[in-house]
């Protein structure tokens, strides 16, 4: 992965997700599964073992009827940089170098062929963004026809997670290089979930690039571990200093408060 970003200026790809706009429809989850050959099983109702790289959580304000409020929160891999670039919780604990921090893109990769399934990374990830293949993937007869050749199918015994559709970056770069360009336009590299979202709630781009929307909206302060300078923007579990690349926007105070609770993603209903 390191050798693919051959541009001089390192990038930090990231997202801004507008929770005021997210409707919880789940189109992002399906687009992600379709893009990335994510398998499915007959019973997917045990959410702890259901593989969803992008999970939409349902937060509630905890108030009784009729003052109850709900907010949907899509959670892809947060692509933590940690205290210094590359000090992601999962990368730090992987004994097989199966997950790696790409200094050129800021993307936390998952190299399936190296992973031997110790699941340390899953324990280390505070966002539950990693999933373990408890079973070999099986597609019903005929359905393997729709599999994406740019993404390898995984097997039993390894961990997988969101990689910001890295294959799309590679494809985009290939195309750009064929045309004699070294840089991609903002629209040339977009994740499957961003593209699918009917609400336009997900915005994706290079946080280092002032021309990109993500930079303009989140206004990350690089001297302070990427903290957003936009008062409406926040990151999940900022206190852990994971320096994530997924920023959220919400105008509701209770949502802004909820995301600081360390047990946020344990307590809330998985999805709705």
């Amino acid at each position: 992965m390191k050798q693919t970003g051959n541009s001089d200026k390192p990038k930090r790809f990231g997202m801004v997700i507008d929770l005021d706009k997210c409707t919880g429809c789940g189109a992002c989850m399906v687009a992600c599964m379709a893009e990335n050959n994510v398998p499915f099983r007959e019973d997917e109702s045990k959410k702890r073992v259901s593989i969803t790289w992008l999970q939409v959580y349902r937060l509630t304000n905890g108030k009784p009827y009729p003052d109850a409020e709900v907010c949907y929160l899509p959670r892809p891999c947060q692509h933590c940089a940690g205290k210094h670039e590359g000090h992601s919780p999962c990368v730090s604990v992987c004994p097989a170098t199966a997950t790696d921090y790409d200094q050129q893109t800021g993307i936390v990769s998952q190299i399936y062929t190296r992973c031997f399934g110790c699941r340390y990374c899953m324990g280390a990830c505070p966002y539950h963004a990693r999933h373990f293949n408890w079973w070999d993937p099986v597609w019903p007869e005929g359905m393997e026809k729709y599999l994406n050749p740019d993404v390898s199918a995984r097997m039993r015994g390894i961990v997988e997670k969101c990689n910001f559709c890295f294959q799309r970056y590679q494809k985009g770069l290939e195309k750009a290089h064929m045309e004699g360009r070294r840089e991609l336009e903002e629209h040339e590299y977009q994740t499957a979930c961003t593209q699918a979202c009917p609400a336009g709630a997900i915005i994706f781009g290079d946080l280092n690039n002032p021309k990109h929307q993500v930079h303009q909206i989140a206004k990350p302060n690089l001297k302070k571990g990427g903290r957003p300078q936009n008062p409406k923007a926040f990151r999940l579990l900022e206190e852990l200093e994971t320096n994530t690349k997924v920023y959220y926007l919400s105008s509701k105070q209770w949502v802004q408060d909820a995301i600081h609770k360390p047990d946020l993603l344990d307590q809330t209903e998985a999805q709705h």
Binding site: A31, M143, L147, P149
Partner: protein, 741 residues
């Protein structure tokens, strides 16, 4: 033999050396490498040339433009088309899962005839010739016997060339019984007829509205065009439009609204009239429109002022008096207010009184055929087709009353009332049904009171299904002539109800037909040819593609070049010319009749004595509940607060649950007058006390193990209730009780 220290060491070292010399360790290491890196048992998708094909997805009702990525001959991904007017790049979860429908194992591979008992799912493969001649023979015999009206046809869509062709076939054949599955389209069409005097379709210029009063419309759950509505919801966040959602349950739509106003189920129409009361009493209405462009206002005013004071309305709806007054003032004073109805996705229309009341609210503020308002729009027509030719038997058949009573003296404004068909079939009045053709519809799953529909269909001796997938209705058929899927065929998709521009999208084949199935359009043409005479002469095209192109000849160039045609500059008729009613004005009296009776809401079965709760169905944006069953990706994203294994969870307010002795996740038996089912209880503060909420779209008996037998079909427990004023299904739910399992 004695083992001493020396021989033990010799044996150990010898063994170790021996093992090292054998290929075993290397073989194990090699295997390990293969096992961890080469996975021959996981599929290795073949790479190839990448191409993109633009088409329109028909899986959900929206009809969005999509672009399909192909690798070689394989379709690998469906994405939203960025330059398509309704969705502009977005896509819904169902249409994004479309390839699971194309390549899935639930498809019907070839024509089949029933060999076992009806519904036993035992079939014999037959050839296309045999299948078509079998159907043609049956239909021929019925027509010969002079009873063409006894053949009925059901489709889920109303507009476009396919419903058009089927209707044309039925007309030429001599049957008035072409029907579509009920939805809010029927109710809105009827409203336009009664109040505008036009036969049109409704459009909502929601983008330009700044205050939206939604009477339970699931704007995010699939009301209208799902993706378009979600886009508009985001647009409203940017323009700071105010959205008020009125419904008993905190749906996704309510969660995104500025205010959720819980209401006693079924009383939305009453609240509407309460709001109208305040607007009239405080003279907040649009004088220009009411005085100069409307008639029947006195009748409406009297009906409203005589029974719908905020105090009265508050008692019936459970909405505070002050809220009613505030809503009325906010609505009337907003620059571009709009009121909409049709509960959830609008699959159950609701009583006409509610629609008339909501539409009157729009009229009171003059927001008819104006920017940000409700528009009466022309219906999409196949204007390139000539009139069908009717012989004597067709003419004799067409003057017979319809099976569903639509257009009769009892229901003069109705165009179709499929919800009335089961009753008519059981009574055998006005005549029995001898054959039913089912296209793109699954009434044995999606109609309320499924059991009654099943019994009624048993009365029909010959059922023909054109289903692509083995659904519940196909399983009941006598012969199946499977259609191509949406990614293998040509078709046109006119814009969904609610979209405020005339728009037609073109469905194009993305991949070669994968199985031995045939376009239903071609089958219908072959059936017509086999029947001969005026039927054949009315459907003269050599194939469906020609028939489609001819019907849309005026737009064909655009359709071919862009994949869609749209009248971007469309503007609705101005008030002076918009209302071809008797008075030439907008009719508040809804074409005569007793307004008070019109506004009386239908009551569901059961009584408060034996059933202490009310069961309401809800639509989820993550569960398909129309003619297409949820593919595996959709079921995967269903919450574990809705489905656990095969067990369905119903929503109950904690207060209600505790009073009945239930805690979170406990098993219960849910009983209604129609039946009972074992469920688990999920406690939520997002539901009015005294209610139980059940999702629509689960509990399939057909399809594969990813979908079948999961949960319960809400339509098993909830029946239909006829609105006496319109014949529409007005059921908001049903009385119910929860008892310990």
């Amino acid at each position: 033999m004695k083992i001493d220290r020396r021989s033990f060491l010799a044996l150990s070292v010898g063994g170790a050396v021996g093992t090292a010399l054998t290929p075993l360790p290397w073989k194990i290491q090699d295997d390990l490498a293969i096992w961890t890196q080469m996975w021959p048992w996981t599929p290795d998708p073949i790479d190839g040339e990448n191409t993109y094909v633009n088409t329109v997805s028909t899986l959900c009702r929206g009809g969005c433009g999509v672009t399909v990525r192909k690798v070689g001959e394989r379709a690998v991904k469906i994405e939203g088309r960025e330059d398509y007017p309704t969705n502009q790049g977005g896509i819904c979860n169902l249409c994004a899962s479309g390839l699971q429908k194309l390549y899935g194992p639930t498809r019907i591979p070839y024509p089949m005839k029933r060999v076992g008992e009806r519904g036993a799912n035992q079939w014999a493969r037959i050839s296309w010739d045999e299948a078509i001649s079998m159907v043609a023979e049956q239909l021929g015999e019925i027509r010969q016997a002079g009873q063409p009206e006894t053949v009925a046809c059901l489709s889920s869509r109303k507009y476009g060339s396919m419903p058009g062709l089927l209707k044309r076939f039925m007309t030429a054949y001599g049957s008035p019984n072409f029907m579509t599955t009920p939805s809010m389209t029927d109710a809105y069409d009827m409203t336009l007829k009664r109040m505008h005097g036009v036969e049109g379709r409704v459009g909502f210029d929601l983008e330009n509205a700044d205050f939206v009063l939604s009477f339970g419309s699931g704007m995010i759950e699939g009301w209208g065009n799902t993706v378009h509505m979600i886009r508009i919801n985001s647009h409203w966040k940017d323009t700071q439009a105010v959205i008020k959602q009125i419904e008993p349950r905190l749906s996704n739509t309510a969660a995104k609204a500025d205010q959720w106003i819980p209401i006693t189920p079924g009383t939305e129409g009453i609240l509407t009239l309460g709001i109208a009361y305040v607007i009239i009493k405080e003279s907040l209405y649009d004088y220009d429109f009411v005085n100069n462009f409307s008639s029947g206002f006195e009748d409406f005013r009297n009906a409203v002022l005589s029974g719908y004071s905020p105090g009265n309305v508050s008692k019936q709806t459970g909405v505070d008096q002050s809220t009613i007054v505030t809503l009325a003032r906010e609505f009337a004073r907003a620059r571009r207010p709009i009121a909409i109805c049709g509960r959830g996705q609008g699959t159950v229309p609701g009583g006409i009184g509610e629609y008339v009341a909501v539409h009157a609210l729009n009229a009171l503020v003059g927001n008819i055929n104006r920017p940000g308002g409700v528009w009466a729009m022309p219906r999409p027509e196949m204007d390139g087709w000539s009139e069908p030719i009717l012989d004597a038997s067709a003419q004799a058949g067409l003057v017979k009353p319809r099976l569903d009573g639509a257009g009769s003296t009892s229901f003069p404004f109705a165009e179709q009332l499929f919800n009335r068909v089961p009753g008519a079939l059981m009574a055998g009045r006005p005549y029995p049904c001898k054959a039913l053709l089912v296209y793109d519809a699954n009434p044995l799953f999606s109609m309320p009171g499924v059991e009654a529909v099943r019994e009624a269909l048993q009365q029909i001796p010959f059922i023909v299904s054109f289903a692509s997938h083995m659904d519940e209705t196909a399983m009941m058929a006598d012969v199946i002539l499977p259609n191509l899927t949406h990614l293998e065929r040509w078709e046109d998709v006119p814009a969904t109800d609610g979209f405020h521009r005339p728009l037609i999208g073109l469905v194009k084949p993305v991949v070669e037909p994968q199985l031995g199935t045939m376009h239903t359009g071609d089958i219908v043409l072959q059936l017509a040819a086999a029947l001969g005479g005026s039927v054949a002469a009315s459907l003269p095209w050599k194939d469906y593609a020609t028939c489609l192109q001819e019907g849309l000849s005026s737009h064909w160039a655009d359709l071919e070049d862009n994949g869609y045609w749209m009248d971007e500059n469309y503007q609705p008729d101005t008030w002076s010319f918009a209302f071809p009613t008797a008075s030439g004005k907008f009719d508040f009296a809804a074409a005569g009749g007793d307004l008070k009776a019109l506004f009386a809401s239908a009551q569901p079965d059961g009584d408060d004595g034996s059933y202490n709760l009310k069961l309401i169905p809800y639509d989820s944006v993550r569960i398909a509940n129309g003619p297409v069953g949820s593919p595996p990706f959709l079921i995967k994203i269903v919450s574990d607060k809705v489905l656990q294994g095969k067990m369905l969870l119903v929503e109950v307010n904690p207060e209600t649950a505790h009073a009945a002795g239930f805690g979170e996740g406990e098993r219960a038996v849910l009983k209604t007058p129609l039946g009972s089912a074992t469920v688990r209880v999920h406690l939520t503060e997002g539901l009015m006390p005294g209610l139980v909420a059940i999702p629509r779209g689960l509990g399939h008996t057909a399809y594969d193990s990813y979908l079948a037998e999961k949960g319960i079909n809400a339509n098993d427990l909830i029946g239909s209730v006829e609105d006496s004023a319109s014949g529409l299904d007005a059921a908001w739910g049903i009385r119910a009780s929860l008892v310990k399992a």
